[in-house]
């Protein structure tokens, strides 16, 4: 069996920063990092599915784990996407979010993968493909505040991806989160 070398140059819990369309102007690119807190908290309890999904749908690569090539040869093809494939972007989650009373600055990118990755109990490869029904994938981004910016930062670095969630879908092509008009403040594009 041919396998990718473990890590394939990547650390499975430290995905690279990812490019995304700017919330203000879809034609411009910004850069987001992925929260260590999210990846390591999941890892600490051995919950792997969301980690695999970050790789497949946000980074745009299969997770760098042993024998992942088994998935690539599977007849059911995982939807490998990046935030550039987002079908919508919203701002404001209408709930307390760390130091924000109403989470009004939080960004939500919406993706429409058809097949995702979840944990498998198989000993060869811990990931398997799973078909999705009428759901949308939401990716939450906490914008970096001016006060947090390091002088030597990449000027494109605009925020931190804090989590992803599959949510019930509404409408088709594109599938948007159910009741998105109520749950978010503003649709940006």
């Amino acid at each position: 069996m041919t396998t990718l070398p473990f890590g394939n140059g990547r650390h499975w819990l430290k995905p690279p920063a990812v490019k995304a369309p700017s919330p203000e102007n879809k034609a411009e690119a910004v850069l987001y990092t992925i929260a260590d807190d999210y990846m390591y908290t999941l890892r600490a309890v051995h919950r792997l599915s969301p980690i695999f999904q970050i790789w497949a749908h946000v980074v745009g690569e299969p997770p760098p784990i042993n024998n992942i090539s088994r998935i690539e040869r599977s007849p059911v093809k995982v939807s490998v996407t990046t935030l550039s494939d987002s079908v919508a972007c919203f701002r404001g989650v209408k709930r307390p979010y760390t130091d924000e009373k109403d989470g009004s600055s939080i960004l939500i990118y919406v993706l429409n993968p058809a097949v995702t990755l979840v944990r498998d109990t198989n000993m060869v490869c811990l990931a398997k493909a799973a078909k999705l029904g009428n759901v949308a994938l939401t990716v939450q981004v906490r914008p970096v505040k001016e006060v947090d910016l390091q002088p030597d930062r990449n000027p494109l670095h605009q925020g931190v991806i804090t989590r992803l969630e599959f949510v019930p879908g509404e409408s088709t092509n594109p599938v948007l989160p159910q009741r998105h008009g109520d749950r978010y403040d503003t649709r940006l594009w």
Binding site: D36, Y38, V45, R142, R163
Partner: protein
């Protein structure tokens, strides 16, 4: 973070359901299984988590947890020698605050969602450990 966590995942490391606190998104989450999860927002505090069929409740997420902990749960935490907080208490504390509004508006589905989360938390004795809470505090 400990170096052990950096090791590649292994099939011998099974997911054991437990509540976790995510600092960067300020929420506590409990899911029964490591599988496809569908998050169904109920209100600004509670999200129910369903399995892929959307028929079986497998968990819940409590949002804005830092405020609820500071406002309602610190005394309980001290009573437990700062070892854990039972999430039934967290859900009850918030429901006490919003219950009148829910019943006044006749929001039966919302009330049922709280009942479902409470039942799951009670049946599975869902607790957030002190180590996790120190991150929230």
């Amino acid at each position: 973070m400990a170096h052990d966590l950096d090791r590649e995942p292994s099939s011998s490391q099974h997911y054991v359901p437990q509540a976790v606190y995510f600092t960067d998104s300020d929420c506590v989450e409990y899911v029964r299984e490591d599988a496809l999860s569908i998050y169904d927002r109920i209100d600004d505090f509670l999200t129910l988590i369903w399995d892929e069929t959307h028929l079986v409740l497998v968990g819940f997420k409590l949002k804005g947890f830092k405020y609820v902990f500071d406002a309602h749960l610190k005394p309980l935490f001290k009573l437990n020698d700062e070892q854990f907080i039972n999430l039934v208490s967290a859900i009850e504390a918030h429901f006490t605050a919003v219950g009148n509004e829910i019943f006044a508006r006749g929001e039966r589905a919302r009330a049922d969602a709280y009942k479902a989360a409470l039942k799951l938390a009670a049946n599975e004795n869902v607790r957030l450990s002190g180590a996790m809470l120190k991150m929230a505090a």
